[in-house]
């Protein structure tokens, strides 16, 4: 009989929701989930947002976030039912037997305290070691996790180190008290693809070296396939499929799992360049006011009507800055931007109404890009009124046409953003951009905050709309899988300069330069043993993370 560490039986989790204009009501969000985890094994929990995967992960510490509470079932850790442990019993469990690694280490570290203080806090509080021993343990873990200068790393404050380093420090914090189980809650989701691979390798190595068991929560099946022994696929608070990694990846039984496995398979043929580009960026160099450092260095790209130029790179590579230069938010110090045959003024305030209308933007966070107090009809109607002076019935008719185009049909016009899902919000933002009848839409990481299947739906919609409206996209992303499915041409950016530029096929055909190779090879693949293979064959270390 194997040594069972965590045994979850028929777990039910409820929450109180407050629908607008109605009385609060209790709903069930996890409907009887069961699983077991042996000592030293890793179980991947996977699903889209709202699947209940984080909630289930936190239940192994008997913790409910916000108004969430465990309403039924049993959770045994080391043979004890922790749901009956009481406050003192839970304090003895948390941070000692079970520890937690959050998605955003940047938010999960206390900004007012040094990293070392926070990493060894639990170890000291539970009396597991003396301060000197705990610090020695932490330094050893920093080294094991590949952090720079492990001896002095802990003396820094969280804001003084990078996101990838903090994520590793959080892993060190979780491992320091030598727990039996670590809950990893999307530990690499917020990181760049090139950083993710390093952190992933560090976590895998640390799990292996310490023999700790882990729950690994993520929405990315390709990532979880690299670190887990077993995988549980969740949807709407229920188990869809539960099995070993090879079984889930290679012979998925359920349709939903199959959809997750093949999510990146949108086929898109590269279109040939036409004679006259709609956007021409020539030798643009730019820097922020009061700095003496160029964030864009001599950037030149072209975009043809009805096509998509993907700008890829990790954070800080200058890809969003390029969008700011094109929209006039950051006037370039040198170079020229030609749009629809006319040269654009460098400053936003000097641009004509038509320049503004024909160049629209869609953002990563659809949530904050919409006024929460406006209905969908008001949001989409605003550009109609502003650019075309549409009013009353004419406006209403056009709003409905646009809603039909984004496949949202009837019944959405009078809703507020809060009543829409993440994907629907992004669709409304697309409709708002289209309402201006633009020639070019700048899409800034528009699918990064979405679940893979929802993101795929948005990409398909964008491609369909491109065929109908003939609009060009400047598509900014860090996700190379997205690039493959949508781009006609690609510009790879690194430290403010274009590293590689050309048609999709050319850019994605070897031989690569070192950076493009690093970027391409870092994209997790739905293959067992991919991580080890990549790490063994890399030409270049990722930059500074």
């Amino acid at each position: 009989m194997p040594d069972i560490l965590l045994d979850v039986r028929n777990l039910k989790i409820g929450a109180t929701v407050y629908p607008p204009g109605e009385a609060p009501k209790d709903i069930e969000i996890v409907h009887g989930v069961s699983f077991q985890l042996e000592k030293g094994k890793v179980l991947g929990l996977i699903g889209e947002s709202g699947a209940g995967k984080s909630t289930i992960g936190l239940s192994s510490m008997a913790y409910g976030r916000g108004g969430v509470r465990i309403t039924g079932g049993e959770v045994f850790v080391n043979g004890r039912d922790i749901l009956k442990a009481g406050a003192a019993g839970l304090r003895a469990l948390r941070g000692r037997e079970v520890t937690y690694v959050a998605q955003s280490a940047a938010a999960a570290f206390n900004p007012a305290k040094k990293i070392m203080e926070q990493v060894i806090e639990t170890t000291l509080m539970h009396g597991l070691a003396t301060r000197a021993e705990a610090e020695a343990r932490a330094v050893a873990l920093f080294g094991k996790l590949g952090l720079p200068n492990p001896q002095t790393f802990g003396d820094r404050y969280p804001h003084q180190v990078s996101g990838g380093q903090l994520q590793r420090a959080m892993t060190a914090m979780a491992l320091c008290p030598e727990p039996d189980l670590v809950v990893f809650d999307e530990p690499t989701t917020a990181l760049d693809v090139t950083t993710q691979i390093d952190v992933l390798a560090a976590i895998k190595e640390a799990i292996h070296a310490t023999g700790v068991a882990a729950l690994y929560i993520t929405h990315d099946l390709a990532v979880v396939a690299q670190v887990s022994d077993d995988i549980m696929v969740l949807r709407h608070g229920k188990t869809v499929e539960y099995g070993t990694v090879s079984q889930i990846i290679e012979t998925p039984k359920e349709d939903y799992t199959r959809a997750l496995v093949s999510v990146h398979a949108i086929a898109h043929e590269e279109k040939p360049a036409t004679a006259e580009p709609v956007l021409k960026v020539e030798n643009v160099t730019a820097r922020y006011k009061g700095t003496n450092f160029d964030v864009l260095k001599n950037v030149s790209v072209e975009l043809h009507p009805g096509q998509t130029l993907a700008v890829v790179g990790e954070s800080g590579s200058g890809k969003s800055t390029l969008a700011r230069a094109i929209t006039g938010l950051l006037p370039p110090s040198q170079g020229r931007i030609t749009f629809a045959g006319r040269e654009l003024s460098r400053e936003l305030k000097d641009r004509k109404l038509d320049d503004l209308r024909e160049l629209q933007m869609i953002y990563q966070m659809a949530d904050v890009a919409m006024n929460p107090r406006h209905t969908v009809a008001t949001i989409i109607g605003r550009p109609l009124e502003f650019y075309f002076g549409l009013k009353g019935d004419a406006k209403r008719k056009r709003v409905q046409e646009l809603l039909d185009e984004i496949e949202m049909g009837r019944g959405f016009a009078d809703r507020y953003p809060a009543e829409l899902s993440g994907g629907q919000k992004q669709r409304v933002c697309i409709a708002r951009a289209l309402a201006a009848k633009p020639k070019l839409i700048i899409c800034d990481e528009v699918t990064s905050a979405l679940d893979p299947l929802v993101a795929a739906g948005i990409l398909r919609l964008l491609l369909d709309l491109q065929k109908i409206e003939g609009v060009a996209y400047l598509f900014i992303t860090h996700d190379l899988a997205t690039v493959k499915s949508i781009a006609d041409s690609i510009a790879v950016m690194y430290q403010g300069a274009v590293q590689r530029y050309g048609g999709k096929t050319d850019v994605l055909t070897p031989p690569y330069d070192d950076y493009t190779d690093l970027l391409l090879s870092s994209v997790p693949e739905m293959k067992l043993g991919w991580l080890e293979h990549v790490l063994a064959h890399r030409k270049m270390e990722s930059a500074g993370n």
Partner: protein, 318 residues
């Protein structure tokens, strides 16, 4: 230059500029009052000649701007002019009074600030439960009670019912510290009751705001005790707003305690100011205004500086 040093220097420079503006406003305000110093001295029945002679003597015929700068430069050198009513140096009288006021304010602050913060922490620990409601209830009642009512109530309790303290809080230079403290016990109590609620509520609100942060969840998942989470993880991140309210209340303790001083016959600044307002002693009013402005601005700058120092991002730049 270290960014902190730069920020602090900026704040200090701004404070001086603000003080200059305040001095101008005080001067203009006093100028706008009907009548002038000569009129006040000689009274309504003074003859034109007498008034003219006195104005000449006091230099009141010079342009306002000249008089303003004369007043300002004298004040900068510590000379606040002479009081009309008794012809004595204002600086000397104010020096003594200000000392008394600061003495009272110091002891009131020494008790109220730690008490308010501890009560705030306890209120957060038991938020929306009875200790929180009790603390909020008591502090809000005491702040709602007019100071003189609280003063007379305490006086009744501690001087009539229990003969513990003297109802008169007059202190003078010959007293020992113990005697002085015994004398000011009652006004200190009243002041503590008055300023407690603001600071407690702000501590509570600022910490509750921080309690929403992800790092508080981290602390909970570390299995820390609730009070440790509040005191060690939440409070250090709530210092800035708390310090601002504390400083506003300290400023109030220095410049706003007229009623308490009158009730307990305490020889402080407030009483001094009110006395001379009723006597239309404009130079004294002007001098007190300047000192109060300096105290307010000084304490607020101090609050800014502490807030800056409390921010690790500024203290330890990348």
């Amino acid at each position: 230059m270290h960014p902190i040093l730069k920020l602090v220097t900026q704040r200090l420079a701004l404070g001086l500029l603000l003080l200059l503006a305040a001095s101008a406003l005080i001067f203009i305000g006093v100028e706008l009052l009907p009548g002038d110093v000569a009129q006040s001295i000689l009274g309504q029945s003074a003859t034109e000649t007498a008034l003219r002679n006195l104005r000449e003597e006091l230099g009141l015929n010079e342009p306002a701007l000249t008089r303003y700068f004369k007043w300002l430069f004298a004040a900068l050198q510590g000379d606040l002019g002479t009081a009309l009513t008794n012809g004595q140096s204002i600086s000397k009288a104010v020096g003594e009074r200000l000392g008394n006021t600061l003495f009272l304010a110091f002891w009131a602050a020494l008790f109220s600030v730690p008490l308010a913060i501890v009560l705030g922490l306890i209120a957060v620990r038991y938020r929306n439960r009875w200790p929180d409601k009790l603390i909020s209830g008591i502090t809000l009642s005491t702040i709602s009670l007019p100071e003189f009512v609280a003063g007379y109530l305490l006086m009744y309790l501690f001087t009539v019912k229990i003969r513990l303290f003297s109802p008169i809080s007059t202190i003078y230079s010959g007293m020992s510290l113990g005697e002085k403290l015994s004398a000011i016990a009652l006004p200190v109590m009243v002041l503590v009751l008055v300023v407690l609620a603001h600071m407690m509520r702000m501590t509570r609100a600022a910490i509750l705001n921080v309690m929403q942060s992800a790092y508080i969840e981290t602390a909970e998942l570390k299995g820390l005790r609730p009070f440790v989470i509040i005191a060690r993880h939440a409070f250090p991140n709530a210092i800035a707003p708390v310090v601002n309210v504390v400083m506003l209340n300290l400023a109030y303790l220095v410049v706003g305690v007229v009623v308490v001083e009158v009730v307990f016959v305490y020889p402080g600044m407030g009483q001094y100011l009110v006395d001379h307002v009723t006597k239309r002693d404009l130079p004294v009013v002007q001098a007190c205004g300047l000192i109060f402005a300096a105290v307010y601005i000084g304490l607020n700058i101090l609050a800014d500086v502490i807030s800056i120092l409390a921010n690790p991002r500024l203290r330890h730049p990348k």
